[in-house]
Symmetry: D2
């Protein structure tokens, strides 16, 4: 039933889902278990405690929801906000666009701050908006830490500085899908209220778990948030946390054991070493792109992403043809250009459990 790839293993360099370490594949190679037995809550407890470390939070409350990044977004918004709430959101690429689309469909009142694709969030506009908003009509700032479509990393510390400068109480909601566990991310230090990621990104698991951390302020906000939610309702989780059984509905046993193995690998290497490694491999990628004589889609060094590099191809080439040929002839998977940059860029994902030599695999592109 396997689709035919030709000989050898697939070389996976899309920015997600990423390569799964052998240790994690092994940990997930198992039968189901009763999630109401004493074993699963005991395991869950260690995971909830340890997952906070990759968010660099001690005060946050984590939720591991059987969903994807899209569902994690929805959970972040509906648990903390009410229909009609004004939010500021930054449009800088396909994934921020999709989140904004979700925000609008959930009936929030979204101030969209747009940048050219390849640029970071325009935080000057944010500063003006916050400065002007004496009456605190802005309820939340929604920002994608790392825009996977263009390889742009936004500066979250500056967002926090702006809010603090004006003593603005807006919630600070962050999509960390392609950043957490790979880029420098500091939930507590940067005063982030909701941060989220997906299992298939830097954690290097299969898809299927949206991991969210909520600050005490975010939890407080749930009490007044009127957005309709059931599956994504954090309160159902909190109720089961109190009972010590942890799960309002059935989790994936395999993902729990996989997450345990993934966290163990990260802690063994050291989270800061993991982040430094991403920096090192990303730099090597950018140097390679430069050596090929191609341009990085990201327009300024301050926005360079250490998890994904979007490479601009010459105008007479269709980037999707490169991706197609890489897959068909070399069993090499690269990311397509999306929406505005379709045909113009291809993307190299360099996140997750990679090493120097593995990265060489896409070098044939030269």
């Amino acid at each position: 039933m396997d689709y035919f790839y030709g000989p050898g293993r697939n070389h996976l360099f899309v920015p997600g889902p990423v390569n799964i370490p052998e240790q994690v594949i092994r940990a997930m190679n198992r039968n189901n278990e009763d999630y109401r037995s004493p074993a699963v809550p005991a395991l869950t407890k260690t995971l909830l405690e340890d997952v906070k470390k990759v968010f660099k939070t001690t005060s946050g409350t984590p939720f591991m929801i059987p969903t994807t990044g899209t569902g994690a977004w929805e959970s972040a918004l509906t648990n903390t906000l009410s229909p009609g709430d004004r939010i500021v959101s930054f449009l800088i690429g396909q994934f921020s666009l999709l989140w904004i689309d979700q925000q609008q469909r959930l009936n929030f009142n979204v101030d969209v701050v747009e940048s050219d694709w390849g640029q970071g969030a325009n935080l000057d506009v944010l500063a003006s908006k916050i400065a002007e908003d004496k009456e605190h009509t802005i309820k939340a700032i929604c920002i994608v830490h790392n825009e996977t479509a263009t390889g742009v990393t936004n500066n979250l510390a500056t967002v926090r500085k702006i809010l603090d400068h004006y003593q603005h109480p807006a919630l600070f909601l962050v999509d960390g899908v392609s950043s957490i566990c790979a880029l420098d991310f500091r939930m507590d230090e940067w005063g982030i209220d909701v941060a989220l990621t997906g299992s298939q990104k830097a954690l290097s698991l299969p898809t299927g778990m949206g991991i969210i951390c909520a600050s005490p302020k975010a939890l407080e906000a749930t009490k007044t948030a009127k957005s309709v939610r059931v599956f994504f309702d954090w309160n159902d989780y909190l109720k089961f946390y109190k009972m010590g059984t942890y799960w309002p509905y059935t989790p994936s046993i395999q993902l729990l054991y996989g997450l345990r193995a993934a966290l163990d690998l990260i802690f063994e290497e050291g989270l800061d070493n993991v982040i430094a490694r991403h920096g090192r491999l990303a730099k090597a990628t950018r140097l390679a792109v430069e050596a090929w004589g191609l341009k990085n889609c990201t327009q300024k060094e301050e926005w360079f992403s250490d998890t994904v590099t979007a490479v601009v191809v010459p105008p007479y080439i269709d980037s999707s043809e490169i991706v197609k040929r890489a897959w068909k002839r070399y069993n090499l998977s690269l990311g397509l250009g999306l929406n505005k940059v379709a045909g113009k860029v291809f993307r190299i994902g360099h996140l997750g459990n990679l090493n120097e030599v593995r990265l060489l695999c896409y070098m044939f592109l030269h």
Copy 2:
């Protein structure tokens, strides 16, 4: 990191998540893949086609959402109904209770028809309500085909007959979580508008995929349904179906290959043989319970469930102690009694890829 069980394999007889066949475990033992490559849509296409067969529908449209049964419920309701819509729902056990709770929190106007736990849905009340509802204020009938908490199977054919008799246009929404692929289930013949199940039940996969089938009438209803939905929105799926890329967001690669293997096993045995086997093993279970001198929680034979048997323990015994001891001393997992029947019943799940001998594993209870 494995929690210690003692020697030997765990004997899993909860009504979900159920035992995964070795063939399915093998199929899922793999790295991630790019879901935008040509391979994943090609695989998805076969799955969408074949999954309809286990619902016994040719006209339905399937959705395989990265979620659980709870999420599948939410998807069924929010895609077809608007807040304030009147629905009739049957409360006969913990899972129907949870679905009703969801219906209420999603702001539907729910006529709850309650039965004693151990009895089936009161379809006489349904008939009266339908007969009276000349103006068609009832927009949907929501019913759990098989109540997992009490081992009660409702008669779906009768529901259809009632609706047809009164030519009532209410949508017919069915939770088939612990029935589809195990009990006789005929989506098209019974005129079901939305049917749903979860991957970790009779399909014998890990948790993480909610599978829903929508009739043409249900799809039509999405056009006017005003419930807020994004992650669960079928329209996003339909858009990607048209493009042939199938996925609005990242699916679990492992579950896709696992589902392929699971369906292959079912078709190899023959779906009707699978259903007959469930009948045979369920009957053996009920005979064993009788031989032990214990009572079935299900009050009448017409409601006997072929996927789960809830066993009533004598009043001087706490059923949760039996479950605890079975797990601790015999590495045998049984289902707890839930809510109203907590402490009073324990549950034997006999669904999924089981055989006669495997079933003997719980016989020690004698």
Copy 3:
């Protein structure tokens, strides 16, 4: 490609190869590795140290040869003896017969001491032979600790006592294939010179590793043993042990990691607890056989085996039909009767990583 068994898992109750614990299957789920890297010798070192514990030896030297029990036999004989050497060997069932056949084909001069199948080794004959052998023409005693064909366990302590009583220097070579790790086995205390087992027996691994322990006296004997040997030559191993690279030729990487996991499980439970558990499950099996009204092939309680029970069927039944039907109808694998007891007995293997409930699986035979 999987041969069709019907639904559910296979119930494996042959006396080998036995069920592999999930933890061991997981540990073996891996790519190959360079066995000349620093990692493999480091792992090997821990295995050589720990494997001695299951033989209960501190002075023995272990060899883990990529072969089966038959190869381990050959290694035991050819490393310690010369063609023409006189040995005493006990014929009590098919496996002792096969070993004797090997001894004869390797040109040893074998005194075969035969018992009825179902009886243990006739140690009175041994005592006479040893008593008479003042000139020490007997170079070795070869005995199968547990005859897998008839479920008979020989008394090794008595063999040692006889040799000690007459101060006879014969080597004491023991086939522990279906005993080590399951029955009470004390290499050092009983003065065993060569003991051996296979990975697929009580260690609960796949087939492919013959594990042998040699006493200092056995190692001394290699210096004068003139039997031709290359692949099975312990000296090649000893040479590589000294260099710290351990392997004269390529080992199975997967079996090394599997053995690590298997030993970890045994030590976690405690070797003596493992042995006690085998005793308990064996007793339950014998009681069941009795309850069925059938006879144990083993003729006296002193020889009852705690790893395999051979069950005598009534004369009007062909036991191979029972085995065939069990497999075909119930996906249950039992051992056939072999050679002299073909058609007359079937065998239940109850060794390895089993528990009480698992054992119930063959109870349907009633």
Copy 4:
């Protein structure tokens, strides 16, 4: 228990054991089975038939012995020859040296024909010896098709021509360990009498199965061959082949299913395409070595090996340091120089289920 490698997967480029395809790892991810059930013989039958195809023989008889290449050598020699028999054997590197050592220890009378390491077998000497041997005292020619230590491929067709030219009846025994399934190999066409390989080489399985094919003439020779053999005796296999149960002792169930998957992959790609791919990747490797300014250990193009390249390092560098650093810093496994070329060469294995991109992994060496 996993030895720590650092992040990312190991890059395995030793000439064996080689990378295992995911499909094969999956196929082997299973519990044991009763090898006396109907399923295992049915599987074995297909394997015996299909394995002949990779030897390009229709008249040969295959044996799949639970052993390594070293054991397969022993099986080839002891089944066809008697102690004292004169054989001609070519010493051109470490593996031919080891085979010759075995031949001598098995008491054959070996004419060793030595070449410089880096050169092929001196077939002129063979021609003289054969020409002179009017009385047919030479019973066998033993030759390693591909010497893994130096990356030298011998010309087997020429050996056959020499024998035919002089109508010499010597048996033609070939070690195809690092050639069969990767290099052009034609058992029948070249009149090879015994050919052998190991599972962990081009078949891309774990270690543990020695696969041997014997010509009708070789089978005839077993009748007079007086070498002592039991474990390796083909006659035991032939006896069980006739009974249709195939196995004189327990095989590895996992390797059988793995071999099935490995053969399926080879046939899907096409054996000749597999061989052509090895040629292509080998050429790329040699060009890379040239581009690095380094020398191939193989002294003439006619001997270039398409499965392994031994690279000569400058005299002021210790090649084992390169191998050590590659492993430690880059998680890249290369082959050491052995014996005479220790410290002077390192080896790149490019055999098995590889593709172009994977091969790039060692390019960092530049």
